[in-house]
Symmetry: C2
Subunit: 235 residues, 2 copies
């Protein structure tokens, strides 16, 4: 098993043989943390869409629609990107449309992979167990922020690598793993100097960040199947 | 003072206002370690060139010429990229032409910056002292390997950031700094799983890697001036 980490969408073109690999899209603050929460709260699926207009068209057909641009809820949508917006009462047994700044773009870029999953600290152990079971080469695809590297996604890549010590890992993954080793005792604290933390803290969503740093609250792995994210069948 | 780290040449386009910033090109194994060694051994300058043919033309004019492609000395050249090739006897008071796989390309890409320096563990403290004195925004430009992120250049960026705790740093720099914190007690040991280490070790140049991991052996900062690297005037 090999692990490559893509630290920014600008580096994704370096990945070859995508059709033989399992890609894990990582957008810790907050898309992939929110996606796993929506599915855990009973939604049938999360349908990621790239464009606001496409999401708005679904809204017209009666779907629940969530999304943000630049960290703000899109006017007229049912939800923003906060995991706390998606309660069981609202999403149970529903298909939920989600468009976000960075994460949705990465899901679209990954769609030709053998498998596409999403990862978050919330479902770290479930994800790693599933990857071990599949035993494929893995691409950890950090969404970053507007094509820039971000700390939280990189640390999560390091956390996955730390739990797969038998894998052959590339230098990007090594960098993340060493960084995670420095920070693993308190992810929330490590993020406090980071760019995304400062941006979200300014919007008053510290409780979202605390939630997104929680480990293994959810035993579920979102998997992209026919353009919908659904709970993968875990063994 | 702000610090941005460019983890791969593929991300360099994200840097703005280059003409107001000091860029530090980092190619630890081995270009920037070799460059500082050549100047420390008495060379008047190191002239970085992009293409093998350009270097060969200098050779025809009587210059000393060094370079590698894919880690191997170019046939007919006076030196490879090993710092041990460039003894004082050979380079004292000479201009030395150097072409390398990754580092030279980054110097060329950086040439519109206000200042361009090269950094290596060998001259870490001298570099940091010089950057403090200049008090400009800094770009730490990791050469990587064929546009991929590498561990040794990233760790060096982290080492620079660790010595400039008052600077405002971006997430790439934070990632490198946390990683350096994990590895600072033994850089050579940390590099043993890295891609470049494995490639160079296969070529039998472990002693080069050990040398390139030494801290503060040289009190000199190479600076690019009119397409030549010369020793900067330190205060």
């Amino acid at each position: 098993m090999k692990i490559e980490t893509v630290l920014s969408p600008s580096l994704f073109h370096q990945i070859t043989d995508l059709d033989k690999k399992a890609v894990v899209v990582i957008d810790i603050l907050r898309a992939t943390s929110t996606i796993v929460t929506i599915l855990n709260n009973g939604a049938k699926s999360v349908i990621p869409v790239m464009e606001e207009d496409e999401a708005r068209a679904y809204k017209g057909k009666g779907f629940l629609v969530g999304g943000e641009r630049g960290g703000e809820t899109i006017p007229g949508f049912d939800f923003g990107n906060s995991p706390f917006h998606y309660s069981t009462e609202l999403v149970d047994n529903k298909d939920v449309i989600l468009t976000t700044t960075n994460g949705t773009k990465c899901l679209e870029m990954s769609k030709n992979a053998k498998y596409v999953f999403t990862g978050a600290f919330l479902n770290l152990n479930a994800l790693v167990a599933h990857l071990k079971m599949l035993n494929l080469d893995i691409v950890l695809f950090c969404a970053g922020w507007k094509d820039k590297v971000n700390l939280e996604d990189s640390l999560f890549a390091g956390a996955v690598a730390a739990l797969l010590p038998e894998a052959e890992i590339d230098d990007s993954t090594l960098l993340c793993k060493h960084s995670y080793t420095s920070c693993s005792s308190n992810i929330f604290s490590a993020l406090q100097g980071s760019n995304h933390f400062l941006r979200l803290a300014g919007k008053g969503v510290i409780k979202d960040i605390e939630y997104c740093c929680k480990l293994n609250e959810i035993n579920l792995v979102p998997e992209l199947r026919k353009e919908k994210l659904v709970a993968a069948n875990l063994i």
